[in-house]
């Protein structure tokens, strides 16, 4: 028990896939370049060798058909894990994901279930320019019927992916491209992390910082520096945005009375915007300062290294926001 070792975020995801495929033969993996080369980012490395071409296969560049395949296979009781190489390409399959996968159960009066996972990643922070760096997660906040998961650490990535595969509903699993090579401790023994539970990554009394995916790392860096100034920040990692763990957010705000919300989306219509609104509605009396959002500006992602850095949320921007209200 409690034995851990250090592995990368990509390796943790690979372990999750491998373990679930061993456990349940209904789990199959497909997408562009996932089989022979093991994925553009090697998350599916070695799966073809272990599980064979019936369970792990490459598809043509047909994003609508990839997610459509997943919908059909899931309707028949398989547990497909489809990969869309970049979340930007998901816009081509959005009909299948939003209008089919997320609706089929409800509009059929509960006749079917769709236990599918669409794995994808956003590459903000890797100078990929405007068409390969979008953070489209907030779009999917407005889709009842679709669960949305965004892990920030290797530990979370593994436990959440395993739960997503076992879940009976469609799950959009959004990885962060810049995190693939980051390392963290992951237990040797099997574990699961439930969907819909946020994680308090750092406890504190002075201010609540809510973040997700890559921005959790920045929020933790910010919390370290704030501590040097005597400010104890509580950092909440959302882990999933649907279901959203409102209890954890609201309880923290009731304790700290101050809230900074951080995510990689453009400020307008962001996940942070939704959280700000909900906290204002439900915990207005607890707030001693305005809620501050830390987001990307409302322009597409620039590609030069320096400009992209200026565009992105970082620890410095989070610190500035906290200092404004503490």
């Amino acid at each position: 028990m409690n034995l851990t070792r250090e592995i990368t975020y990509a390796e943790a995801l690979n372990e999750a896939l491998r373990e679930e495929m061993r456990r349940d033969e209904n789990v199959i993996v497909f997408g562009e370049d996932v089989a022979v080369i093991g994925g553009a980012y090697r998350v599916t490395k070695g799966l073809l060798e272990e599980f064979g071409p019936q369970r792990v296969f490459d598809t043509p560049i047909s994003e609508a058909a990839i997610v459509g395949l997943a919908v059909g296979a899931a309707l028949m009781g398989l547990r497909p894990v489809a990969e869309i190489m970049y979340i930007d390409f998901l816009t081509i399959s959005i009909d299948q994901l939003v209008t089919h996968a997320a609706k089929a159960r409800f509009m059929s009066g509960g006749q079917v279930k769709l236990p599918l996972v669409v794995r994808t990643q956003y590459s903000l922070g890797r100078v990929h320019a405007s068409q390969h760096s979008q953070f489209l997660a907030p779009w999917f906040l407005n889709v009842p019927g679709l669960k949305v998961v965004l892990p920030s650490t290797p530990y979370d990535a593994k436990g959440l992916l395993k739960s997503s595969i076992r879940d009976d509903d469609p799950v959009l699993f959004i990885e962060s491209g810049v995190l693939y090579s980051t390392k963290g401790h992951v237990p040797v023994d099997e574990y699961l992390i439930p969907l819909g539970k946020a994680d308090v990554k750092r406890a504190g009394d002075d201010v609540t910082i809510v973040a997700l995916s890559r921005t959790v790392i920045e929020a933790l860096k910010a919390a370290d520096k704030l501590l040097e100034k005597g400010i104890k920040a509580e950092v909440i990692d959302l882990r999933t945005i649907n279901p959203m763990d409102w209890d954890t957010i609201l309880n923290s705000v009731r304790k700290t009375n101050r809230l900074v919300v951080v995510d990689d989306g453009h400020k307008t219509g962001s996940i942070s915007a939704e959280i700000s609104a909900r906290v204002s509605e439900e915990a207005f009396d607890s707030l001693e300062a305005p809620i501050i959002r830390v987001n990307s500006p409302d322009i597409p992602v620039p590609s030069s290294l320096q400009l992209e850095k200026a565009f992105m949320v970082d620890a410095e921007k989070i610190i500035k926001a906290v200092i404004k209200i503490v």
Partner: protein, 340 residues
């Protein structure tokens, strides 16, 4: 183009040479008439009584296709239907009151009133796994069903219905290509009813026929006269057996005609009158009943008796639907997720 297998109308003289019993002919006729009378009644419920509202896409004029294809399949084969799906559902044997109940938005409906007309064909107990209302979207989903059937080494196949409008979508090309690449047991049935809403086929599709397109992806492809239920049945039977044996996709384009507008409120005045009249002269039910009489399989009186019985059943479905309750709004949440 030369690879497309063309199948014309089947003459009455051939009827007695087919491996179909008299009972089977009666059943085919009855199913076609069920669709006809159901749709005519639905049209009145929308336009005369004003009792039904919302989108509704009638199957009038296309009855031969749903009935011919379903007859060629096994009951445990899977169906992917569309928003013009009442005909598919009735041909598959979905109870009329469940279908009508869905149009009324009632709890007795196939989808408990949560789907409405456009999704009313969705009926898992009859193996109709989806009825999509986005043109072309069912094609990749059918490929996914085929993937699961192949993965499980099932000897079932999936039949995917769509119209000529679907042939110009990306999903059509992505879905058919992937089904061919992965060698999936899918029978594609294109009901070319000549119109994508108001756009005639000649202005919507650059090729001469859709079957040739599928043939370009390496699929065996048929172009069949879709107003003849027996021709459709014969082609679908041969095609379904090929899909079942070879575990690879086959394509059928059925040439037919949408006798009404795109939706029930559309008067379709954009169609040339001569064209409409010509197709009405070739109405699939009129054609079939005449051949049944000509071949001596059924008498005029027997056909009339069937009609009376069908009309009564439609009326009963309307009555039941009127009386049925609507789901409790507070309960809707429980239909959203399978796990919580």
């Amino acid at each position: 183009m030369s690879n497309v297998i063309i199948v014309e109308e089947t003459p009455a003289t051939e009827y007695r040479t087919l491996a179909l019993s008299r009972e089977e002919f009666i059943d085919i006729y009855k199913k076609m008439l069920e669709i006809r009378r159901f749709e005519e009644r639905v049209e009145k419920l929308f336009l005369v009584e004003g009792e039904l509202i919302g989108p509704c896409h009638l199957y009038l004029g296309q009855e031969a296709i749903a009935v011919g294809v379903m007859k060629a399949l096994r009951d445990d084969d899977i169906i992917i239907s569309t928003y013009r799906g009442h005909g598919h559902a009735l041909a598959r044997g979905v109870p009329m009151e469940k279908l009508m109940g869905e149009l009324y938005g009632k709890e007795i409906g196939t989808c408990k009133g949560l789907g409405g007309s456009m999704h009313s064909a969705m009926c898992v107990e009859k193996n109709i796994m989806f009825a999509t209302a986005i043109v072309g979207s069912g094609i990749p989903i059918a490929a996914g069903i085929g993937l699961a059937l192949k993965y499980r080494s099932s000897d079932n196949i999936v039949a995917c219905f769509f119209g000529d409008g679907a042939a110009t979508t990306g999903a059509f090309h992505e879905g058919i290509n992937i089904a061919a690449i992965l060698q999936l047991p899918v029978l594609f049935i294109c009901e070319n009813n000549q119109y994508a809403y108001s756009l005639p086929f000649t202005k919507s599709f650059a090729g001469k026929n859709i079957a040739a397109f599928a043939s370009g992806y390496g699929l065996r492809s048929y172009l069949v006269y879709g107003n003849d239920v027996i021709s459709v049945y014969k082609v679908a039977k041969e095609a379904a057996e090929l899909v079942r044996e070879n575990r690879s996709p086959v394509f059928i384009e059925c040439r037919t005609y949408r006798q009404r507008g795109h939706g029930v409120y559309d008067r379709a005045l954009y169609r040339p009158r001569e064209e409409v009249e010509e197709w009405l002269k070739n109405d699939p039910i009129m054609k079939f009943s005449k051949k049944l009489i000509d071949s001596g399989l059924l008498s005029q009186k027997e056909l009339e008796d069937i009609d009376l019985e069908v009309r009564e059943r439609v009326e009963k479905a309307v009555e039941e639907s009127r009386k049925a309750p609507v789901l409790d709004f507070e309960e809707l949440n429980k239909y959203l997720y399978a796990s919580r």
